[in-house]
Each structure stands twice: as C-alpha cells, then as structure tokens.
C-alpha cells in the first residue's frame, strides 16, 4: 500500500483511539465525582474538581504559550 495512504489510515485510527480515550476519561471522572458525592466524600469531589481546573488551566496556558511563541 502507498505510504501516504498508510500514514493517513494510521492517523485516522489514532484520532479514533484518542476520542475513545477522551470519552472514557470523561465517563470515569464523572462516575468518580458522582460516587464520591453520594457517599458524602465532599473533600474528594473538591479535590477532583480542583485537579480538573488545574489541568484545564495548564492546557489553556500551553496553548497560549504555543501561540505567543509562534509554534501554532
């Protein structure tokens, strides 16, 4: 098979796996928050939400940095 087509196919499979991984991650975290909340572990809920905020902040900051430095 042509290597261009091969790389393209690998890219599509990679994107698909990334999407599945992302959805699984969202599902797992939502389940964890829910089970912590109904069992009264509110400190755990706060820790998870804090961690999500921190990851979101770092993700955005990385994007802004890449933009400012001309990488994207």
């Amino acid at each position: 098979m042509d290597d261009l087509v091969l790389v393209g196919a690998a890219g599509i499979i990679g994107l698909l796996f990334a999407a599945i991984f992302l959805l699984y991650g969202i599902y797992s975290i939502a389940t964890l928050i829910y089970s912590s909340a109904i069992s009264g572990q509110y400190s755990m809920v706060l820790i998870i939400l804090g961690a999500l905020l921190a990851v979101g902040f770092l993700y955005t900051a990385a994007g802004v940095w890449l933009q400012k430095t001309g990488h994207i």
């Binding site: 042509d2 087509v5 393209g8 599509i12 955005t60």
Partner: protein, 364 residues
C-alpha cells in the same frame, strides 16, 4: 522543451485560476502542458488554454457544511478523503505510464507526486489555523504537513516570505524542517490584471464560496444593499442562473460574470465586499485596492483567521455575516485607519522569478 502535468484541486476555482499565469508562462517558454483536473477547475483551464491536452482526474469530496461548524464535518470526511487519495495515486500512476512528463505541478492535491518525475506542490497553507482549544490537533497537522511536503522537491507558496508583507500571516509560515528546506515564496499569483480604468463604481459585492453559505450571504446582502448611497454591482457567483436584475437605479445584480467582466468590475470598484478567501485576497493585492470589507465563510477557519489577521494589521475591516450591518460596516471599512495591503510585487514579476529560479531548473 519539457512536458508538464498541471493538476489543481477543484474545491472552488481559486486553485485553477492561480495556475493560469504559471501555465501561460510555461507555454510562453514553449513547453507542453497537460491539464489533469475535474469539474469547474478543468472547464476553466480548458477554456483558457484550448491548445493544452486535458485529462479528467477526479479529486476529493468537498466537506461543505450547512452550519457554522465546519471542523467536525471536515474530520468526519477523513476516511472518504483517504479513499479518494488512494484512488488518486492509482490514477496518477496510470497517467504517468501513458506519457512522459518532466515535471508535475500539484496545486493542493496531496496525492499528485511521483518518485520518478520531479514534483512540486503549490499551497498557501503550510499551517492550518484551528480554534485555540484544538492546539494539539494543530501541532499534529504541522507535523503531518511536513511529512506531505517531504514528497515534493519544492513547495511553492503564493505569498511573500514571513514578515510584514506576508498576506497569509501564520498560514504561510513553515513549521517543520522538511517544509523549510523545500519552501519557495513566489509572491502573489493571480489571473486578474490591473487595467487602466477609472474607479467609477462605488461598491462591488462578490458573493462566492460553498453552498449553502453562499445563498445565505446573498439573502443577507441583497436585503441591505438598498441602504447604500452610491452605485453598486452585486455578483452572485451562481453559474446556473442567468437571471440578471436591476435591483434599483443604483444597483445592478449579475447572476454570473465571466472572468473578464469580473476583472473589469474589480478594477472599476472603489470598495470591494467579498469573502476572505485567499484568491480574492491575492486579486485585491494585485489591483492595489485600499478599501474592502471581508465577510468570512462561517466555520472556515482559514477565512476567519485571515479576517482577524487583517483587522489586527489595520489593513482591512471584516465582519461576520451574522453581525453584518452593510452600510455601517462599509463606512468603517473606508476609514483611513485601514490602509490596505502593503505594496507587494505583482504576478507578472513573481511568475518570471518563479520560472527562472525554480521551474526552469527542472525543464531546461
């Protein structure tokens, strides 16, 4: 005398029309040119160059979106694109087996290259622009582009080198070593020429681009065109429609104008209202127009980026079609704070340089 295969993408006419000056130059230098394209791109080039051999060469499905969210549909189109590229590779091999070529010029057709025939690629997008939240995808696309460009001996960018006169901003900035090694900035390439005519038309509105957004913009603009003081012409860019109308004493609506008619009208216009597609951008730069209003196609991140970029540079005013107040936006677009593009080298000069510095090396 060399034999060149020229193959433009048929997503709009922009790729075919910017290849016109290249083909003309090759013919002027007594080379033989074969056009390999499909749809309107093939029709335009066949009409322009009846002396050239032409081959039907299908390209990729167009992921046009009915909504402003172009990106998800584009991603969903990847498997279809891949199938089309695979077919394209097979068709190219059969074309190359039937005839001898000295050079392949691919205008944004990803699968049109050969390890046996020198191949060059034309694109104004070395770098795709995506919303900030998608930065990992944008980085991935830069790497992917580097891989694609590695298939060609040269990547010709119809823009000035990165810097104060680059008309495509970050879109024409090379991101990988593979691309940097091959890139050649030719400057603008357009089939539109400057004419010695008076600017006696106040506004020229050019409605173009993919459906259904073209029709939506037509409705929005025709509703507001009567608010303008001064003479105006509206080009609907609708080839199947021959129903020209006189909207009012000051406004004429033309369903479809020929290339020549459009060129005359663009030369006559004091202010141009159009999509921020790169073909229109190059035409406006070639004609040194200082007043234009850009309306990006919703969801087309390239056009949205260019609109934003020109606002930032203070070159031209842009407005989303969802927030357009034509009279007010034209008033803003004509303010002196918008300077128009900086003076850039014209197509004639660029094409001579491109031929002498790049193409002749493969043909003479």
């Amino acid at each position: 005398m060399g034999h060149i295969l020229v193959s433009p993408l048929n997503w709009g006419l922009g790729h075919a029309t910017r290849d016109i000056p290249i083909i003309q130059k090759l013919l002027d230098q007594h080379h033989e040119v074969t056009i390999a394209a499909c749809g309107n791109a093939r029709a335009v080039l066949e009409k322009e160059f009846p002396e050239c051999n032409s081959i039907g060469f299908p390209d990729y499905p167009v992921p046009y979106s009915t909504s402003r969210f172009f990106l998800p549909k584009f991603v969903a189109f990847f498997p279809l694109m891949l199938k089309a590229i695979s077919d394209e590779r097979k068709t190219l091999n059969s074309i190359l087996a039937k005839n001898k070529y000295d050079l392949i010029i691919s205008d944004n057709r990803l699968g049109v290259y050969s390890s046996k025939v020198p191949s060059v690629f034309i694109t104004h997008q070395l770098h795709y622009h995506l919303p900030l939240g998608f930065w990992p995808v944008e980085l991935l696309a830069v790497a992917m582009n580097g891989f694609l460009h590695g298939k060609y001996l040269n990547v010709i960018v119809p823009d000035n080198p990165p810097g104060p006169t680059a008309l495509a901003g970050k879109l024409s900035r090379p991101g990988t070593e593979e691309t940097k090694k091959r890139v050649y900035f030719s400057g603008i390439l357009t089939s539109t020429h400057q004419r010695d005519t008076r600017e006696d038309l106040d506004y020229l509105v050019m409605i173009s681009g993919p459906e259904p957004q073209r029709t939506r913009l037509e409705k929005i603009l025709l509703k507001q065109i009567g608010d303008l003081d001064g003479t105006s012409v509206v080009l609907l860019g609708s080839p199947g429609n021959h129903d020209n109308q006189q909207q009012s004493e000051k406004c004429r609506v033309i369903a479809y104008a020929s290339t020549e008619e459009k060129e005359v009208l663009m030369n006559r216009a004091k202010c141009i209202i159009c999509r921020s597609g790169y073909t229109s951008i190059m035409e406006i730069a070639e004609l040194s127009k200082h007043h234009a209003l850009f309306i990006p196609t919703p969801g087309q991140t390239e056009q949205e980026y260019l609109s934003w970029y020109y606002e930032q540079k203070g070159w031209f005013h842009s407005q989303s079609q969802y927030h357009l107040h034509l009279a007010e936006d034209i008033r803003l677009a004509c303010q002196p704070r918008y300077t128009g593009f900086p003076e850039v080298a014209r197509t004639r000069e660029n094409i001579d340089r491109l031929y002498n510095q790049v193409l002749a090396g493969y043909l003479e």
